[in-house]
């Protein structure tokens, strides 16, 4: 994977992209949110200081998902009434994007679904409702009103300063999961499955004192 480089327009530091197709990244030195326009970077905002994370995953963590190797290149942090969670942006060997969600050390890998799949309106995605995508049945199990908390690393789209986001989580009866993100005009659908920590064979994890 080639790692393109650019210069941070705010502090002049050398910014390296972990992923060649990154649309947005965060300068690791001054925490400026930088949007990529070919070779130039545009500063669009700043990420507030993030508290040290309790997630064992960090930028640069490697892993495997169904025999496909991936690297963690970016992160979106969300917060809600009962705590927070991370959506780690992972890139596979073939340069495709995926998401490793990490909520209280419960892990799931999912990918953005094709536009052709039908997305219900927010009002229709109520608890207990069933929807079918790609032949699998999913049931709505949680509706979360979350707040965007911060970003880190490379992301495949522009994403910052979202006020309130509604996430609808669905589960299937065989470990599959789906998420509807209602932050955009057209809701985003992610399809994937829950994974066990051990099955991901993660390397380059965060080290914790006493563990």
């Amino acid at each position: 994977m080639t790692r393109p480089q650019a210069t941070c327009p705010n502090c002049g530091a050398r910014v390296e992209f972990r992923w060649s197709s990154a649309v947005q990244t965060v300068c690791p030195f001054c925490h400026s949110i930088l949007v990529r326009h070919d070779v130039d970077l545009e500063r669009v905002g700043t990420v507030a200081d993030l508290a040290p994370s309790s997630s064992p995953i960090q930028l640069g963590t490697g892993g495997r998902y169904h025999q496909r190797a991936f690297e963690v290149v970016g992160r979106i942090i969300y917060e809600w009434e009962q705590g927070g969670w991370n959506e780690w942006h992972v890139v596979f060997n073939d340069s495709t994007s995926g998401w490793l969600s990490d909520a209280q050390a419960e892990y799931a890998v999912s990918c953005l679904a094709a536009d052709s799949l039908a997305r219900p309106a927010e009002a229709n995605a109520a608890l207990g409702r069933h929807f079918t995508w790609q032949g699998k049945d999913y049931q709505v199990t949680t509706v979360t009103h979350a707040r965007y908390r911060g970003v880190e690393g490379d992301l495949p789209f522009e994403y910052w300063d979202k006020a309130e986001v509604v996430f609808v989580d669905l589960k299937s009866d065989d470990g599959g999961c789906a998420t509807l993100d209602y932050s955009e005009e057209t809701p985003l659908l992610f399809l994937g499955e829950f994974v066990e920590f051990r099955d991901l064979a993660l390397t380059n994890l965060r080290q914790f004192d006493g563990w």
Binding site: A51, P52, S53, S54, P56, E81, Q82, G83, G84, Q104, A105, E106, A108, L127, G128, Q139, T141, T142, K171, S172, D173, D174, G175, C177, F194, F197, R198, L205, R206, Q207, F208, D209, G210, W211
Partner: protein, 439 residues
């Protein structure tokens, strides 16, 4: 860079020092000195609730204790007690929250000395209503079927330590348990949202071993919902083995009783006329006779002697001696035959039999004859009777087969009875017990 998950806080209510062990996972932390629940996400640790402490269930594993469980270290960071009320009686159990920064969270539950290892399920089970009256609702998940055991409302009555969600004393959830021993499937619902978890029964000894706790675990009382039966898996196999043994027994019986020749080696009819008056010993001996000689072939085996008489309301006694003509070895034994019948107010009755059958054990091959000394009630020709002696070789001993059957049946019957008693006791604790009404 090494990150710290542990931090110290000062309780705003009483000033005590609190330890938070799970980094930013922790949402609520309890100060056990003043029994206040604090908001861990709030920099000023806002007090969410103050509660009265109740010692309903002992906390056996202290906060901060680490144990090796399924190949990973798990630290106890929280403990809560929840209570349900069934038929006016409160039942409380303890729940330990275990944390590992890589693998997340799991739980240990404890009730009356019964322990369970619980994880949150990420698949949604399918729930089916009871199909017939008397049947129970079922839940199916990951290819396993669970029977409904109990539904109740659980109230949080005690909290200690920290939790990755908001917890308050007095919180209520609707809990439903489904069992497939040794596993238990539970659902917890509030406001339409349902969380499912799967538990597996573990013994207190395993917990004490993993956490290196002093002393011994509390003795389990009664039978728990998903406690494995005393003969897990064996019950079916024992009965399968019994069926196999029975098959062998039956085949052997058919072969021995049905197919083997049991040829008659000697047969003769005799008549006995008792004396008019009771004879003396020498007179009695004089009535003895001997049969012709006959040959017994083959291996040492049993010899069947059948005595058929025409007695009616009388008795006879035969002193037999089987004598080997070559070696002179004798086998002495006596047999009695008695038969009485008549008619009275209840109708026809009879007692005894006119024939006798006996097996002489382990008779080696050779040339033999039988000496017979018959006896009967004195009375002359009036009491005369005829008797037929029939000798057959290698006759099976029927009682042995019956004995074998009984002996083979005892263990499966015992195992079945014990299992049934165990299962009955188990279900007495459920919504389906046969004592009075249930919720």
């Amino acid at each position: 860079m090494v990150d710290a998950l542990v931090r110290s806080l000062t309780c705003p209510q009483c000033g005590a020092t609190l330890t938070v062990r799970a980094g930013d996972h922790t949402v609520t932390v309890v100060c056990s000195h003043c029994n206040s629940i604090l908001d861990a996400k709030d920099p000023s640790l806002k007090v969410l609730q103050r509660f009265a402490a109740k010692q309903l269930v002992p906390q056996y594993i202290p906060l901060g204790a680490r144990g090796r469980w399924r190949g990973t270290m798990w630290e106890v960071i929280g403990f809560q007690v929840r209570t349900i009320r069934v038929q006016g009686i409160d039942y409380s159990w303890g729940e330990y929250l275990l944390f590992n920064p890589y693998e997340g969270f799991r739980y240990l539950t404890q009730y009356n000395g019964h322990w369970n290892d619980v994880i949150v399920l990420k698949t949604v089970p399918k729930v089916y209503k009871a199909r017939a009256t008397g049947a129970k609702p079922q839940a199916v998940v990951l290819g396993e079927t669970f029977q409904h055991f109990q539904t109740a409302t659980a109230t949080t009555t005690q909290v200690v330590g920290e939790f990755p969600w908001t917890v308050r004393v007095g919180d209520k959830v609707d809990v439903s348990d489904y069992v497939d021993p040794p596993r238990i499937l539970s659902s917890e619902s509030t406001a339409g949202e349902t969380t499912w978890s799967m538990g597996e029964y573990v013994t207190g000894d395993r917990i004490w071993q993993a956490y290196e706790l002093p002393g011994s675990p509390p003795d389990p009382i009664g039978v728990y919902a998903n406690q494995p039966a005393p003969y897990p898996g064996s019950l079916g196999r024992v009965w399968q083995a019994f069926a196999a043994f029975l098959g062998v027994l039956l085949l052997a019986a058919v072969w021995r009783f049905g197919l083997s020749p049991h040829a008659v080696v000697y047969e003769h009819v005799y008549q006995y006329v008792p004396p008019a008056t009771p004879p003396s010993d020498s007179e009695a001996a004089a009535a003895a006779l001997v049969t012709d000689t006959f040959t017994l072939n083959g291996r040492t085996s049993a010899l069947e002697l059948t005595t058929e008489t025409n007695l009616d309301n009388s008795w006879a006694y035969f002193a037999f001696a089987l004598i080997n003509d070559s070696t002179g070895t004798t086998y002495d034994f006596g047999r009695e035959v008695a038969y009485y019948d008549g008619r009275d107010v209840d109708g026809y009755w009879s007692e005894g039999s006119t024939r006798d059958r006996v097996l002489i054990p382990s008779v080696p091959s050779g040339r033999y004859y039988v000496r017979v000394q018959p006896e009967g009630p004195p009375g002359g020709t009036f009491r005369a009777f005829t008797y037929r002696l029939r000798l057959r070789r290698d006759v099976p001993w029927g009682m042995a087969y019956l004995l074998a059957f009984v002996l083979l049946a005892v263990p499966p019957a015992f195992v079945l009875l014990r299992s049934m008693t165990f299962e009955h006791t188990r279900w007495q604790e459920s919504d389906y017990s046969d004592t009075g009404d249930d919720e």
